[in-house]
């Protein structure tokens, strides 16, 4: 194993993902964790922010305990695309030599950070749920693999920066309160990369699973809901509670719910504050996509069903009978 390089003088970086001048909710979470790591290492914390509205978002970042915000608003960064974003992040990192770069494990972060890692010829760990500084001053990155059955601690001993994408909603957002951090606009890149891709349309969408992945409350159904009628009841329940509807693979395969509602290993991973499971037995494939929820309440006929091994509270009852009664109870 190589000797660990000297700590990067650029400090700890948190990528400031933003849209129209507003930071993505994961950014304050990463600032909170990044601050802790930077303090452990005695290094500054910086937030590069790209795209149209970057300066406004950079000011928002400086309302948190951040030492430096680096907005870049070059025209090729206006519409997100992995090639210019990766080139810009790697370019800045090459000049300023950060020790660590963190980004949210969002669709964007998971797409362009790998490209930046190749440009920097360094390591990248995906979708981390834990970050700490080890006694030998390495970033110890914890992630889940094998559908959540295995946790692994990953280190990047010999190259810099150490890079990680971090799962949203794992870390507590940083307290508000700046520390008089500076704003330093990045000069435009010398040679913007060739354009080999053009956006023809952008269709904003809240349906189609996007609402599900970030939901605080999920109402999920499985085979025990009996059919499309059972799912119509769950949809009413989800609306009543202000939650998102989800389904097990069995229910999706049966055609009772559309594929973009599927939670599990080959579907969407969710981590809501409250997950209500109705008629879901809890196959390992399903648990892989929801077992990290803060609170799980389950209703299933079979008291021995594996769903009850992850549920904080459960009822051995027929979900198809309980859901209509619950709708009445909630005064729908």
């Amino acid at each position: 194993m190589r000797e660990a390089p000297a700590a990067g003088p650029g400090g700890v970086w948190v990528f400031g993902e933003q849209e129209e001048g507003r930071l993505h909710p994961v950014v304050p979470e990463l600032i909170g964790k990044g601050r802790e790591l930077a303090d452990r290492l005695g290094l500054p914390l910086a937030v590069p922010v790209f795209g149209r509205g970057a300066e406004a978002a950079a000011r928002e970042a400086l309302a948190h305990p951040v030492d430096l915000a680096i907005p870049a608003e070059d025209p090729e960064l206006w519409i997100y695309s992995p090639e210019p974003y990766a080139a810009r992040l790697a370019g800045l990192a090459g000049e300023r030599r950060p020790e660590i770069i963190l980004a949210g494990a969002t669709a964007i972060g998971r797409e362009f950070l790998p490209r930046a890692a190749v440009l920097l010829k360094t390591g990248l760990t995906a979708d981390c749920v834990g970050l700490e500084i080890s006694p030998d001053r390495l970033l110890r990155q914890t992630c889940l693999s094998f559908g959540g059955n295995v946790m692994a601690a990953i280190v990047c001993p010999g190259r810099r920066p150490q890079m990680a994408t971090v799962r949203p909603r794992v870390f507590r957002p940083a307290e508000k309160g700046g520390r008089g951090g500076r704003l330093e606009t990045a000069p435009p890149a010398a040679g913007p990369p060739a354009v080999r891709k053009r956006r023809l349309e952008w269709l904003p969408e809240t349906a189609g699973g996007a609402d599900l992945a970030g939901a605080d409350l999920v109402v999920a159904g499985g085979r025990g809901m009996g059919g499309p009628k059972g799912f119509a009841l769950l949809e009413r329940l989800a609306r009543r509670l202000g939650g998102a509807l989800a389904a097990s693979r069995a229910a999706v395969d049966a055609g009772w719910a559309p594929p973009d509602r599927q939670v599990g290993q080959t579907g969407i991973t969710v981590r809501p504050k409250l997950y209500l499971a109705f008629g879901i037995s809890g196959a390992a494939h399903h648990l892989a996509g929801m077992a990290d929820s803060d609170r799980i309440l389950a209703v299933n006929r079979d008291p021995g069903a594996p769903i009850f091994s992850v549920a904080a509270w459960g009822l051995a009852a027929d979900a198809l009978e309980v859901v209509p009664a619950l709708l009445r109870e909630l005064g729908e």
Binding site: Y80, A86, A126, N149, E201, V299, L326
Partner: protein, 263 residues
């Protein structure tokens, strides 16, 4: 004639893998190996592109141990025209950077107009190899492709899903696309395909064949290392009150929901 390269990974049925709590090693004995489910969608899309273009060749490529040839045989049975195993002792222990490096060298030899891969593998779940492959090649990358609307040898129009919407992009080829499940329904292997796959010779490309620098492959070429593996914390089995009638059950549950409901 367009060459279409499809990246496949042989994975264990991830839901069945556990950590031995005593030795802290993976217990994967008896766990079935399979083609990463997302990659089957990439393969299907490759075959459909070939059909739409009225010709071309789909080559399935996998880096892995000798037994990964089985995954490539399945790809042949499901419609791939050719398959190559990227195999060598020096490739072992690769992280995503070293894996994508070897795949990029294979792409250099095959000269595809399009590379397709699943959005992630279900074992390590990184989703990094496709994007890193595009980076080594300096090709455009589109992840989470839900539909290929148009394809010609020079360009493609694709729809992909981001967190807050759907984006339609025109992309110059060659490019790398990673696909999500909704893109298609993979066909099952045909009987004829199975026979052909059984008989097919699968070439193995090693570091010499690929002109790979061993320092960039396998353990030596991997910046990251696994320091430790361990089982996730166990949850205690929750409380399970006895429910009487559905109405009683609903009352109990409604109370619990009010108590736990996010503000």
């Amino acid at each position: 004639m367009m060459e279409i390269m499809v990246c496949l990974k042989q994975v264990p049925d991830a839901a069945e893998v556990r950590v031995d709590p005593a030795t802290r090693t993976l217990m994967r004995q008896g766990v079935a190996a399979m083609v990463n489910p997302f990659d089957l969608h990439a393969l299907e899309e490759g075959v459909r592109c070939r059909e739409r273009l009225g010709g071309g060749r789909v080559t399935a490529v996998s880096m892995g141990p000798p037994q990964a040839a089985e995954a490539l045989r399945e790809a042949l049975a499901r419609g791939a025209d050719a398959a190559v195993l990227l195999g060598s002792r020096v490739f072992a222990g690769a992280d995503t950077l070293a894996t994508s490096r070897v795949l990029a060298l294979a792409a250099g030899k095959l000269a595809p107009g399009l590379i397709l891969a699943g959005k992630q593998a279900i074992d390590a779940d990184t989703g990094q190899v496709g994007p890193e492959l595009a980076a080594w090649l300096d090709w455009p990358l589109v992840c989470y492709v839900a539909k290929i609307r148009e394809i010609s040898p020079a360009r493609a129009v694709v729809e992909r899903r981001l967190d807050s919407g759907r984006e339609v992009l025109e992309v110059d080829l060659p490019a790398v696309f990673t696909v999500i499940r909704e893109i298609n329904e993979p066909r099952l292997p045909s009987f004829k395909g199975r026979l052909r796959a059984k008989k097919a010779a699968i070439p193995v490309w090693d570091e010499r064949e690929l002109g790979a620098d061993p320092a960039e492959t396998g353990l030596a070429g991997s910046p990251t290392a696994v320091a430790e593996i361990f089982p996730p914390p166990r949850r205690e089995r929750g409380e399970m009150p006895t429910a009487g009638t559905p109405a009683e059950a609903a009352r109990l549950l409604a109370g619990k929901i009010r108590e736990c409901r996010p503000a």
